[in-house]
């Protein structure tokens, strides 16, 4: 177990280093963006501009601004937003992150669970009509963008059938349609992956031995095949989470969800430097933590990795 603690600490160190690099690159890229954070900048006199810029520290040389930001950020001080009445960036993000996180996690769980189910069904009935049908479904799921599903779900389930609310964020019922829309892609990816893995495992010697033991086909699928197929799936969770984070920006807009994605877009449009930086840091952190968790999970479920480490 101490080996595990050491491993996690080492990974956290790497995360911190990566974060500093991300902050640096984003900072300078952001400064290269055209426009200014000042609204109606062209109507301000030079003096007015200088006063405001001095107030926000924008008059200092770029490298000094960068250094100040980095030092503050490492002390968890992310500054105040330019556009929202000087509210602290941390407060703004905290207010908005709940819905985004909920949507992301729900979509990931829905996608993976449903994907495993469909993939396993296809593998068990491989080379039959069920398999072909599920494969076509999976290809559609991977290739159709989430906003198309979003629109279809809103129109049919929301408007025509009137089963679920079309947009908004006022309770679990409101989360169902965006979760499905966002979860389609991970579901299709997981289904395809699990099918391939399971068909592979089913041809292995240890499955034949399991059959020779006199186990029923249900036992073989559940106890031997699925478990061995799930292990490599864990490596997919990281990339899936990334897709969900970027995908959720669009989905939040379509379903009018007060999440971090919409805020991120508007912060870029208005050159709200502190908020851009803050949101970038949050996205990067979430991503790296997801990757860390996947790696830990991988070690937990695969004994070969657990003990080799």
């Amino acid at each position: 177990m101490s080996g595990m603690v050491k491993y996690v600490l080492k990974r956290l160190g790497i995360i911190l280093l990566t974060l500093i690099i991300i902050i640096s690159i984003t900072f300078f890229l952001m400064k290269l963006m055209p426009g200014s954070p000042l609204a109606n900048a062209e109507r301000l006199s030079d003096t007015q501009r200088q006063v405001i810029e001095a107030q926000y520290g924008l008059d200092k040389p770029l490298i000094v601004q960068y250094w100040n930001y980095l030092v503050n950020a490492l002390q968890f001080n992310f500054g105040n937003s330019f556009q929202f009445q000087n509210q602290p960036v941390s407060t703004l993000i905290a207010q908005r992150i709940g819905p985004s996180a909920q949507l992301g996690i729900q979509a990931l769980v829905f996608g993976i669970v449903a994907g495993i189910g469909l993939g396993a069904a296809a593998a068990v009935h491989r080379n039959t009509k069920t398999d072909t049908f599920l494969s076509i479904l999976a290809v559609l799921g991977v290739s159709i963008p989430s906003f198309v599903f979003a629109a279809l779900l809103q129109y049919y389930v929301g408007l025509k059938l009137n089963w679920l609310p079309i947009a908004g964020w006022e309770g679990f019922k409101f989360t169902i349609l965006p979760t499905i829309a966002l979860g389609m892609q991970p579901m299709a990816t997981a289904a395809r992956f699990i099918r391939t893995e399971m068909v592979d495992v089913m041809g292995s010697d240890y499955i034949e031995l399991a059959r020779a033991k006199g186990l029923s086909s249900n036992d073989i699928v559940w106890r031997h095949t699925l478990r061995n197929s799930l292990i490599p799936l864990v490596t997919l969770i990281g990339p899936m989470a990334v897709n969900l984070m970027t995908g959720s920006v669009v989905i939040e807009k379509i379903f009018a969800i007060p999440g971090i994605g919409g805020q991120f877009v508007s912060s870029i449009l208005t050159n709200d430097y502190p908020l851009i930086m803050g949101t970038t840091i949050v996205y990067s952190m979430m991503l790296m933590v997801v990757l860390l968790i996947t790696d830990i999970l991988y070690g937990l479920i695969d004994p070969r990795i657990r003990l080799a480490n």
Partner: protein, 363 residues
């Protein structure tokens, strides 16, 4: 007269492929007596594994059993419903696989893998089953078994893994154990250990063993009887002494001649030329004829019947026919014959009589 625990009668199996039906097993007859070890010997594709997969009820989906019967303790196994077969498989008939590196589930503790058949077949509780698994690990010679019962396969060497595979096969005390080339994937010193272990187990548990191999050297110390398979047929069957001392089929000669012995002179090992026939279109006559320098004209036209040399010895070759010309077998085989005749003066291939194939079973 000992009891037959297994009788394979006129078995014919085809595999349906895109190119047509491959006749993998062509009318084989053999029996397995209680407590004996029968070796099935032959090169790849001769039908050894298909035969045993059929006995286990584990044939691939494209296989079709055209005819024949397999009686296990008087019970017909062909067309036995899957749920009934399942209760026999791993319980009364168990199997050891060839490659221990890939036959264990990499993500399951070995204790669980060994105990699984007991839990499934006997409905035994986990604790009791694991205790039995521990006993079995000790029996198959896994050192410090208690400390390793929670380990995973990758923590064991190849030889130890094969012991685990054997433990899995033996856990429910099967009456028939099928060992499908259990030592092929192991290095030579470990091979000897595994063979010793199997002999020890047979002594202690009285299990009947079908031992599949392509290595006649391994068979010598292991089997009571040998069935030599070629192109989906049994070409010669007899006791270990008869097959090694008084072989009659030219294919058996070829196998023995390509095996080094202590008498082998430098550079005199001989391979059998050519390759086995295509079983999509098996030859009309003796399938071995094209590779056989002793082949007679009739071999091309007509399959030889079995000729019986002793109550236990049968060979399917026209060379034993009363009209066949005298041929001189390879030197090593001549030496074997000479030695055999010293111990068995009554042995005479001229006495061989053609018999029906089913005679193999009724003895």
């Amino acid at each position: 007269m000992t009891e037959n625990i297994l009788e394979v009668n006129d078995l014919k199996i085809n595999f349906h492929t895109d190119n047509g039906a491959v006749q993998a097993i062509r009318d084989i007859y053999f029996n397995l007596e209680k407590g004996e070890t029968l070796a099935l010997v032959g090169e790849s594709g001769s039908g050894k594994s298909v035969t045993t997969r059929t006995i286990m009820g584990l044939l691939a989906k494209n296989a079709e059993i055209e005819r024949g019967s397999i009686q296990f303790k008087g019970k017909e196994l062909i067309d036995l419903p899957e749920n009934e077969f399942r209760s026999i498989r791993g319980s009364e008939i168990a199997m050891i696989f060839q490659d221990p590196m890939t036959s264990l589930d990499p993500t399951m503790k070995i204790g669980q893998q060994i105990a699984e058949p007991l839990i499934k077949h006997q409905g035994m509780g986990k604790k009791e089953a694991w205790d039995k698994a521990l006993d079995m690990m000790n029996l198959v010679g896994i050192p410090n078994a208690k400390a390793h019962i929670n380990d995973y396969p990758h923590q064991f060497s190849g030889g130890m893994r094969q012991r685990i595979v054997i433990a899995i096969a033996l856990i429910d005390n099967p009456e028939v154990l099928i060992a499908d080339e259990p030592t092929t994937a192991l290095d030579v010193t470990i091979q000897a250990q595994i063979l010793d272990l199997m002999k020890k187990i047979q002594r202690e548990l009285g299990t009947s063993i079908i031992f599949i191999t392509h290595d006649l050297g391994v068979v010598a110390g292991m089997a009571d009887r040998v069935a030599v398979m070629y192109a989906g047929q049994i070409v010669e069957v007899g006791t270990i002494d008869e097959i090694y001392g008084f072989p009659q089929h030219p294919y058996t000669w070829g196998l023995l001649n390509s095996m080094p012995t202590t008498q082998t002179n430098k550079g005199s090992l001989e391979a059998i030329p050519g390759t086995p026939p295509d079983l999509l279109n098996p030859p009309v006559g003796d399938a071995f004829a094209p590779r056989n320098k002793y082949a007679l004209a009739i071999d091309e036209k007509k399959q030889p019947p079995y000729f019986q040399l002793s109550p236990t010895h049968f060979a399917a070759t026209w060379l034993l026919d009363e009209h066949a010309p005298e041929v001189v077998p390879p030197l090593t085989v001549q030496q074997r014959w000479a030695k055999y005749k010293q111990a068995h003066p009554e042995a005479d291939k001229k006495q061989a009589k053609p018999v029906d194939a089913s005679a193999i079973l009724s003895r």
